[in-house]
Amino acid sequence: MAGSRLVVEKLSVGFGGLLALDGVSMSVARGEIVGVIGPNGAGKTTLFNVICGFVRPDAGSLTYCGVPLWRHRPHDLTRLGIARTLQGVGLCTGLTVLENVMLGAQPTLRSDIGSSFFGLWRSSREERLVAARGLEVLDQLGAADYARHLPSALPYAIQKRTALGRVLMAEPKLLLLDEPASGLSNDEMDELATLIRSLKDDMGVLLVEHHMDLVMSVCDRLVVLNFGQVIADGTRESVRANPEVATAYLGDEVHESAGKQGTSDGA
């Protein structure tokens, strides 16, 4: 797996008596967009939280770019080249849109606290450069007009773009998107799909999403979770054709066969 960005092997996480993840194995390659789908409570967000270091796994391993990822903490991620968006927007309400985006570049900044205290050239020049790059990213996302606004007063779609801008500032090698399309209109979702596809050149993208339209149009590969276990892993077509997936998740779309199998555990 030379080009692999992330390899997850036999990952298990339990909360009390509940196994949130049960022997999950999956991978994301460079230039690949992998969608993680599954019903609510299937373990998608827990998988993200383990990758991000918010939750320690009980068993299993993570390998990032060929190196084991072990006992990392959330603030180590951007330095490693992993960026994540949060469900909802996860923006800092007291920072302007531009400042929120500039936050993404935080770990690359080198000016020390001394030069910041004394307002030295080193610190202020770096600030100007970061601000300029933040504006570029916002421009690319079509949100440059809102740079000086506080996010809470802006349309939801702009807030989502700001959150996306922040992760792009970090120039990640592995991008984790947690429900990027929630709350977006169809048009906005199309724009998002185009954007995500345009990103993937050098990045591995892992996408958790409920909107099947977006998942089906964007992802190269799908991993389906149910009750903490991987029940399918493959191309869009193979996953769509998988009866187990249909039962667990896409039951509505293949009404006849789902009815016969008679399980309704997809809530």
């Binding site: 991000c52 903490r73 959330p74 603030h75 180590d76 991620l77 951007t78 330095r79 960026a83 994540r84 949060l86 996860g90 923006l91 800092c92 309400t93 007291g94 920072l95 302007t96 400042e99 500039m102 936050l103 993404g104 935080q106 770990p107 900044l109 000016s111 606290i113 910041s116 205290f117 004394f118 307002g119 610190s123 202020s124 770096e126 600030e127 970061v130 000086r148 606004h149 506080l150 809470s152 007063a153 922040r166 970090a170």
Partner: protein, 343 residues
């Protein structure tokens, strides 16, 4: 940055005119205001910008004051060095309090810092030989140069110190550290995902804030000429917090209002109680009562403090831009308008 320096120079010019045209006692009070501005600016950074509350800043001031006083008693160090030691010692105290504080929030953090404010003064009482007991330790200001009166000279040291602190903090708030501090205040999870070490940032805020308090403590000790355990009671810590809120949480320049209130409110309340012939039992607490009352009124009328109210009024002026000059940061949470042009 240049803008902050220009602003400070302007402030220094005004203060020069003020101090040379007022009485010696007024000079003493202006110096006290400047001292309070130093501690309030640090508190504003901690609470307003970083979102951590502290009821223990009076104790950090005591650490600074005793450090300088002990150095003055036992060594012949340079005066500036003695003041910087106050900053350093209080900063270390801030480190010790700040590390456990990263795990606490809101009322629990308030409780822990409150405990610190309560627990520190008895330590000085316990070793009267070292800390001077009730009499305390004397603090002396170096001789004034030329024909300057000692009061004016001390006021100048304090004003100069306050301006330097304001410029340094304003620079910091406009750097990447300012952004980091505010991000941690707003959303710790988002901040950590952006690569910010949340715990380290919170400790840093505590150290800087405590360092400012230490300098302010040394300054106030110089004003009274003596430092003893009675000089930094718990009510001081609470009044500091109230004055910070009244000045405008998160603002630096608003702390001037806070300092003015801290110095003049007790004085007004004393003359008030004398006017109405109130008993000594009442008059002793009148300042604190008035402080509380003013705080409640301000929370209803101007939740962003005096500086926030002024900023709001300034934006309402016809034909004015929305930015206010000076080193005030625009980080007050819940600022009335969403557009921020003040960089």
């Amino acid at each position: 940055m240049l803008r902050h320096l220009l602003f400070a120079t302007f402030g220094a010019g005004i203060m020069y005119l003020v101090t040379s045209n007022i009485s010696l006692f007024d000079n003493y009070q202006v110096g006290q205001i400047a001292s309070f501005v130093v501690v309030l600016a640090g508190l504003s950074l901690l609470t307003g910008v970083n979102g951590q509350i502290s009821l223990g800043h009076g104790a950090f001031m005591a650490v600074g004051a005793y450090t300088t006083a002990l150095l003055m008693t036992h060594t012949q160090w340079n005066f500036i060095l003695e003041l910087l030691s106050a900053v350093g010692a209080a900063g270390v105290a801030g480190l010790l309090i700040g590390i456990p504080a990263t795990r606490l929030k809101g009322p629990y953090l308030a409780g822990m810092t409150l405990l610190f404010a309560l627990a520190l003064p008895p330590i000085a009482d316990k070793w009267p030989n070292t800390f001077g007991g009730d009499q305390g330790l004397t603090m002396t200001t170096p001789n004034a140069p030329g024909t300057l009166s000692p009061q004016e000279w001390l006021a100048w040291i304090q004003i100069g110190g306050a301006l330097i602190v304001l410029v340094l903090l304003a620079n910091l708030l406009h750097s990447r550290y300012g952004r980091t501090l505010r991000a941690v205040r707003d959303d710790e999870i988002a901040a950590s995902l952006a690569g910010i070490n949340v715990a380290r940032t919170k400790v840093l805020a505590f150290v800087i804030s405590a360092g400012c308090a230490g300098l302010a403590g040394a300054f106030l000790g110089l004003s009274t000429g003596v430092v003893n355990t009675g000089a930094f009671p718990l009510t001081l810590s609470i009044q500091l917090l109230a004055a910070m809120v009244l000045g405008g949480t998160g603002s630096l320049i608003g702390m001037v209002w806070g300092g003015i209130l801290l110095v003049y409110l007790p004085q007004w309340s004393t003359s008030l109680s004398g006017h109405f012939n109130l008993g000594s039992g009442v008059s002793a607490y009148l300042a604190t009562i008035i402080f509380g009352a003013v705080l409640i009124v301000a929370m209803i009328a101007a939740p962003n403090g005096i500086q926030g109210g002024l900023r709001w009024a300034w934006r309402r002026l016809p034909g004015s831009g929305s930015g206010v000059g000076g080193s005030g940061s625009s980080a007050a949470p819940g600022a009335p308008t969403p557009v921020l042009t003040d960089e």
